[in-house]
């Protein structure tokens, strides 16, 4: 066998996949922007992503804020900079940890369930049935999920930000003995609009990525239960990697040149 042919085949396979993904993403976006929209379907997805992810995201944010305060205290004590803790907590949470941790948790929770649900619909011919009933699966399945991801993640992250800072406050005040008023003032003083805003932009992008990867891998799953399992794994892994990649890109965009 010709080794060049093997390389070529792998490369062609990769290009086919990339093209298929690009077309899928493009069609998804177009169907988000054009009517008809199905409010009840969008609402159900919003509830699923926004409301039912709250406990998971809230818990992780709380513990992240707490551990952040503890870590920075022990570190900063080495050069007598303990007073910067409040600022460190609020900036790290709003800029980075809030969106990234919420994104990764939701990728595990929602990305997986989207891929499993749509994948099962694919292998049991439910998507075919949708099409024969003159319903576009992009309108009915993909667009509501993309829209819900895009809008609900920022909301979740906003709540995660507040809970995370509250976690830092708890540890700072009750464990490390800071004055509550000073801690809150320090939290507020150095926080700028752009810190929170950049975090929310990230959240929106992550929400879109999660829903897109869930739908894409589900839509093209094949071969029964095993195929659906593979789609679920791929959805979570690819969404997580893309989240971390986009996180770097967006951070660079907002704060890179200053």
């Amino acid at each position: 066998m010709n080794p060049l042919a093997a390389i070529g085949r792998v490369f062609l396979h990769f290009l086919t996949g990339a093209g298929r993904f690009a077309i899928f993403a493009g069609r998804g976006v177009i169907h988000c922007l054009t009517p008809p929209w199905y409010p009840s379907l969008i609402g159900r997805q919003m509830l699923n992503i926004g409301y039912f992810s709250l406990p998971v995201v809230g818990m992780t944010a709380l513990f992240t804020g707490m551990v952040l305060a503890l870590q920075s205290y022990t570190g900063f004590a080495r050069f007598n900079a303990e007073s910067a803790i409040a600022t460190v907590v609020v900036l790290s949470i709003t800029r980075e940890l809030g969106p990234v941790i919420a994104g990764l948790m939701v990728a595990g929770r929602i990305g997986a369930s989207m891929a499993a649900e749509i994948g099962t619909m694919r292998v049991t011919e439910q998507i075919d049935a949708l099409q024969t009933l003159s319903t576009n699966p992009f309108k009915y399945l993909v667009a509501p999920r993309l829209l819900a991801g895009l809008t609900m993640l920022p909301l979740l992250v906003l709540i995660a930000d507040i809970i995370g800072v509250f976690g830092g406050y708890l540890v700072g005040v009750y464990n490390l003995g800071f004055n509550p008023t000073t801690f809150l003032r320090q939290t507020r003083d150095y926080l700028e609009f752009i810190d929170v805003f950049s975090g929310l932009v990230k959240a929106s992008v992550f929400g879109f990525i999660i829903a897109l990867m869930g739908c894409y891998h589900g839509y093209y799953s094949e071969g029964g239960a095993q195929g659906v399992g593979r789609a679920t794994t791929n959805a979570v892994v690819s969404a997580s990697i893309l989240i971390l990649l986009c996180n770097y890109v967006i951070t660079g965009f907002f704060f890179g040149t200053k």
Binding site: E117, T120, E125, Q126, A129, Q131, T132, L133, T135
Partner: protein
């Protein structure tokens, strides 16, 4: 058939990788005609239906619905053509996130914009036609037996009163009495509504009840087709082997002892 056939298929070719499933298939179905396709398991009957429905893109060939070419059609036009169709999938393919009546009323509500209350009443009437009581309407598909799912799927296929109905093994998995009821329902769709039916079945008793014409698919082509009355003395050894269910004959099953 002087006028244009409802469905006209010419030279249809479809392969999956190296496996050639359809190899230049020709088939016509006339207006208000009931055609039954028979053929061995895995010969491509379901693939044929999915090509007509636009769910599988054929490699070559032409499919005309009411004289209009549908192969390679744009999504928007495809949706318009699909409004003429009703389809019973071999595996039922019910939407498991919706209740039974929402499944049956799906086409009415989404494609035809019938209001919810009226759609529900019509769905319950459709369920009664396939022998399911109104209590079933509120159940989830997961709570049904295999045969009940099939009947719900049948009710969904005929709910929009489509011009062309495709039945992929409508009676498989049903008891003989229920099979006869379903066959009667299919016949009445054709006679009373003037629908065109393209069905697939392995059940020769059922084929004799519902078909005007029978076509046999073998090796990717239609090897025989003719009125149902001629099937017993058609002189085609393939058809005779199939309808009599003999293991010996020109059709070799791929089994090894």
């Amino acid at each position: 058939m002087a006028d244009t056939p409802k469905i006209a298929i010419r030279g249809l070719v479809k392969s999956f990788g190296p496996k050639k499933v359809l190899r230049g298939l020709d088939l016509d179905v006339g207006i208000a005609e009931s055609l039954v396709v028979i053929g061995g398991s895995g010969t491509g009957k379901s693939v044929l239906l999915k090509c007509v429905l636009g769910l599988i893109e054929p490699d070559a060939g032409s499919i005309k619905i009411d004289g209009e070419e549908v192969v390679g059609m744009r999504t928007r036009d495809r949706e318009r053509v699909n409004r003429k169709f009703g389809m019973l999938f071999q595996g039922a393919a019910l939407f498991d996130s919706l209740t039974v009546w929402e499944n049956v009323a799906f086409g009415l509500m989404r494609a035809q914009g019938v209001p919810r209350g009226e759609a529900k009443a019509r769905a319950i009437a459709n369920l009664a036609q396939v022998g399911l009581p109104p209590e079933v309407a509120e159940l989830q598909p997961a709570e049904l037996s295999g045969g009940m799912k099939k009947r719900v799927s049948l009710a969904r296929a005929i709910a929009t009163k489509p011009e062309i109905i495709f039945f992929d093994e409508p009676t498989t998995g049903l008891d003989p009495i229920m099979s006869a009821v379903i066959d009667g329902l299919i016949s009445s769709c054709v006679h009373d509504l003037g629908a065109t039916a393209l069905s697939i079945t392995h059940d020769m008793a059922s084929a004799r009840r519902i078909a005007h014409r029978v076509a046999m698919l073998h090796d990717g082509k239609i090897i025989w087709n003719g009125p149902v009355g001629q099937i017993d003395h058609c002189g085609n050894p393939f058809v005779e082997q199939f309808i009599n269910g003999r293991a010996e004959g020109p059709i070799q099953m791929q089994v090894r002892a």
